[in-house]
Amino acid sequence: MDAVLLKPTLYTSSGALLGGRCACGHVFFPMQTYGCEVCGRHGADLQPMTLSGRGTLLSSTVVHIHADKARATPFTIGKVLLADGPVVRTLLVDPDREIAPGTPMVTALVSTDDGTLDLRFAPEPSP
């Protein structure tokens, strides 16, 4: 895949998320070394951890109005409990459909207006 990622510090071209893990065991996203929210360890005690990009939908909502006119509406925001532990909130692939809580979700990379690829979540395809 040759396309440029919109936010390469947050995810990979395979749809994995670039998180971190503290020596105390706390898993977080995105990666940072400022300090652990649970125990306060910092620096080298916080190590990068690649998160799988799979999770379970906790909630979603279709947004009809947004202050930033550059962001076209409607769009859908989902709250996903990642299999690795953290909860992330971001755009879903489908811009105008709420999805049932509990649905298994997986990351997907979609083309943006400027030609880069950005990360979204979508329901995991049925096997």
């Binding site: 947050l10 400022y34 909502t61 947004v63 009809h64 962001r71 409990l81 909130r89 990360l119």
Partner: protein, 380 residues
């Protein structure tokens, strides 16, 4: 060994005042602020030089807005500080004023909140995010609305009844930004903002001011303040968010933790509350917070709402001022305005909004961060 506010000398609210909350206008913030302070002074029946310190709550006016406002009351040289704590700015200023009087460092202190609707500016933390810029506050609460409806099998129509009650209360409040009763159909109508949320289920951020003057028993005697109009601050608690189990709503859990400490400090139970003013910026919040304050088990709030238990005259009047949804949420003033409403209620002076026999009230605010402030007030 730390102590609570109640372990220190008693503090009383002796004067409250407002500039009505309103849609953004050309009115300078100085006019808003001095109007509220002069009303609070008149309510306490004291003069400005009696005020020994001032805490100015503002989130959107930029640096050092207080002195250019307070000088028009007479530049007495009183110590002055600015308090910014997002939606809880006013509650924080009130707590600081209470602490100063309770500690004995001042006999009379002022908390005043004033704001205009200016853009919010928050410095980057240096960490990137997936799409946080796409998640406005109403989107955050729309997600919580959908979670609540799904988890507890509650309809969006029933959640929207919070707004019907609070608009009804606000219609009776001359200081409210929205002063019109609304039917459930009206609340559910209008274009959707996000998910099921409609504009009448969201707070209208505007402008305004609120002031509260607190005093010690020494000051009440010395200044000849009528003790029967003084309302005791029986508890003051502040906390900030911890790391909670995945999927728990942080505002709700933080509310539960903070309220539990405040009720223990005041040595009362949730069932003793006659009045609650809480942070209902969005309808679902009122259900989350009454459940976490302890009025009923989780998921049961709609039953209380539909039974009228949360109405003025019900079991516990929740947001008799109209709350953030109808009274408004000018940010800096909001938490102080709650203290003002509870003070009027506990004096029996709330006019057409009066909840009969009110003895004990609780003021609750959350602010982005998240932070949470709870105050408990009791009539003498």
């Amino acid at each position: 060994m730390t102590r609570t506010l109640k372990d220190l000398r008693p503090v009383y609210v002796v004067g409250v005042g407002w500039h009505p909350y309103q849609n953004p206008s050309e009115t300078p913030y100085v006019t808003l602020g001095v109007t509220a302070i002069r009303q609070a002074l008149a309510d306490a029946r004291i003069e400005w030089p009696a005020v020994e310190s001032a805490y100015v709550a503002t989130a959107l006016l930029g640096m050092a807005a207080g002195r250019p406002m307070l000088r028009h009351l007479g530049a007495t040289g009183l110590p002055l500080s600015h308090v910014e704590n997002a939606s809880a700015s006013g509650s924080t200023a009130f707590r600081q004023a209470c602490i100063e009087v309770a500690s004995g460092l001042a006999d009379v202190s002022l908390a005043v909140g004033v704001d205009k609707r200016n853009p919010v500016r928050r410095e980057s933390t240096g960490l990137d995010h997936l799409a946080e810029d796409a998640i406005a506050q109403f989107t955050h609460f729309s997600l919580l609305t959908n979670e609540y409806a799904h988890r507890h099998g509650v309809s969006f129509e029933d959640i929207a009844r919070v707004a019907v009650k609070n608009h009804r209360n606000g219609a009776k409040n001359p200081n409210a930004q929205r002063r019109k009763e609304r039917t459930l159909e009206e609340v559910l109508g209008g274009r959707k903002v996000a998910g099921s949320l409609t504009p009448l289920q969201c707070t209208p951020v505007g402008e305004g001011a609120a002031a509260a003057i607190v005093a010690s028993e020494d000051a009440i005697r010395r200044l000849g303040i009528d003790p029967s109009r003084a309302i005791r601050v029986a508890g003051s608690t502040a906390r900030s968010e911890r790391v909670y189990a995945a999927g728990l709503g942080f505002d709700a859990v933080l509310t539960k933790e903070t309220t539990a400490v405040a009720l223990a400090e005041a040595q009362i139970a949730a069932a003793d509350l006659d009045i609650i003013e809480l942070h209902d910026a969005f309808t679902v919040e009122e259900l989350h917070y009454i459940e976490n304050i302890g009025l009923c088990p989780e998921g049961q709030g709609v039953h209380l709402l539909k039974d009228g238990a949360l109405d003025i005259g019900g079991r516990c009047a929740v947001n008799p001022s109209g709350g953030l949804i109808a009274m408004g949420h000018p940010i800096g003033p909001t938490g102080i305005g709650q203290i003002g409403e509870i003070t009027l209620q506990l004096r029996g002076a709330a006019g057409p909004r009066q909840h009969a026999g009110a003895r004990t009230g609780l003021a609750h605010m959350v602010g982005v961060g998240a932070v949470c402030y709870v105050h408990i007030l009791q009539r003498p």
